[in-house]
């Protein structure tokens, strides 16, 4: 028997052929192809259509009822879900505020922790590594509980008492896993810079600190930006976790609204409505991240 048989040669061995329904078009991976930009927009539209449809369905269902329509109910609760109670910071806007603060704090702390990981001092290096590993591998919700219970709700600075709002603590708690992940991104980006850059900087009498801040880190920014944005998206998606700890974010207020209406038909449209805001907010960031990744990969 010949070992190298030409393809398409008749054979008496059983061969698994692609499944084709008689008379149908042949499907191949090419038919699905890669998800192009047009398709992404299509997917987005599909989700909105779904949300709209479910609202419509409930609307139609309730038309016969004497109570308020689903659509009107959604409209009624939207300001609260979006902005929180009047005069207070809350709702979906609070999710965004928490994501900003957690990201800013996490980036700042993560940068230093990442630099700590490449420190020449073994104590600094090892402890930075340990902190990074600890917070990178802890469940976010557990960290949230920990910080919420560990941090005082009121502090006295110079004889003046300050209340620490729950969402501050929540933002701090969420910044910890971000810090650990940014630390790894910083460490990885620095490691990816060719050693020649260090050597030429050294040979020009740059100190280690100058080399890091003026030559290495500026080159890392491009490499760090896409993963950094990616973590921002993940963080934003995780902010509804704070609702479990009594912070009046979008999720929490949606639950309140549902409780006030006490009608199970509203569950799906209300949560879809909230979800679509997160989607509208994060989708462009995710898309931009992919574009940047692509561009930087080409120009490297």
């Amino acid at each position: 028997m010949k070992l190298h048989q030409k393809p398409n040669m008749p054979t008496d061995l059983p061969v698994l052929k692609p499944f084709v329904v008689a008379g149908s078009k042949t499907w191949s991976m090419e038919t699905f192809g890669t998800i192009t930009a047009d398709r992404r927009i299509l997917i987005a539209c599909a989700i909105f259509l779904m949300a709209w449809l479910s609202v419509d369905v409930v609307y139609a269902q309730l038309q016969s009822d004497s109570s308020q329509s689903a659509f009107a109910t959604l409209v009624k609760w939207t300001p609260l879900m979006l902005l929180g109670p009047p005069g207070q910071l809350g709702g979906f806007v609070l999710n965004i505020v928490v994501s900003f603060i957690a990201m800013a704090l996490g980036t700042f702390m993560g940068l230093w922790l990442g630099l700590g990981q490449i420190s020449l001092n073994p104590i600094v290096r090892r402890s930075s590594w340990a902190i990074t590993q600890l917070f990178r591998n802890s469940p976010w919700l557990v960290l949230l509980f920990y910080i919420m219970l560990l941090m005082p709700f009121r502090v006295t600075i110079g004889g003046v008492e300050f209340d620490i709002p729950g969402w501050w603590k929540a933002a701090f708690a969420l910044s910890l896993p971000i810090m650990a992940n940014i630390s790894e991104i910083v460490r990885g980006a620095i490691a990816s810079i060719p050693t020649g850059q260090w050597e030429s900087a050294e040979s020009l009498a740059f100190s280690r600190t100058q080399t890091i801040w003026q030559i290495i880190l500026p080159q890392c920014v491009k490499r760090m930006l896409p993963p950094w944005m990616n973590w921002y998206c993940i963080l934003t998606m995780s902010t509804p976790l704070v609702s479990i700890l009594g912070v009046s974010d979008g999720m929490s207020l949606t639950q309140d609204a549902l409780a006030a209406e006490s009608r199970s038909e509203f569950l799906i449209p209300m949560y879809l409505w909230l979800m679509s805001w997160f989607f509208i907010y994060s989708y462009p960031i995710a898309k931009l991240t992919r574009r940047l990744e692509h561009r930087f990969a080409v120009n490297e």
Partner: protein
Amino acid sequence: MSTTTAWSPDQPIVSIKDVYKSFGELEVLKGITIDVMKGEVICIIGPSGSGKSTLIRCINALNDINSGSIKVKGMEVNDVDLDKLELRKKVGMVFQQYNLFPHKTALENIMMAPLKVLNQPLEEVEEKARKLIERVNLVGKESSYPGELSGGQQQRVAIARSLAMNPEVMLFDEVTAALDPETVNEVLLAIKDLAQKGMTCILVTHEMGFAREIADHIYFTDRGVIVEHGPPATFFTDAKDPRTQEFLSQIL
């Protein structure tokens, strides 16, 4: 371990004495001794892996040495208390892979070290940088990024960048090895210009014709020792050691 001593112009500006260096088990330098006078141009040649690059990297303390002594203008390199930054202000280095800073333009690459390391005023630094650009024949490329320049152009920017620190000794580590053949010459011309203006140069090179033309003294290294050395006039014609003869016969 000797320490820094005063230097006078009648002494070698770079004095390498009995230098040993190993990477783990691998002995790379086994007792190298070279003296370089101010204004001298020396070329180190030899087969790959003979320790040439390691040797010149030891001169500006990019690699440390295990034993022996390297003195640059009286400064002992093999000294735990060595002020590496002071040493590197005296010694410029150009690498095989150029190693320009990719996020800075050609002019910024040249200006960076004098501005940040020597804290010289901006106007002065910029004026000097523009003169250097002219000197390496790159007028018009000031605002180009390294990625937009050819290998030869990048290497000339790298030379200008080193010169901006006003070094007293220049080290060239196989600076033409990564270049396209047609751009080798422009880089060699820039180095020749430097050498003719009295810069002390130590080159590791495979360009024998060039070495013959500009070197005052040629050292041939093999397996971590200097096998033979001499002025180019006699070195290339009257090589005595069989290893040198073999190397030269292969390369010439």
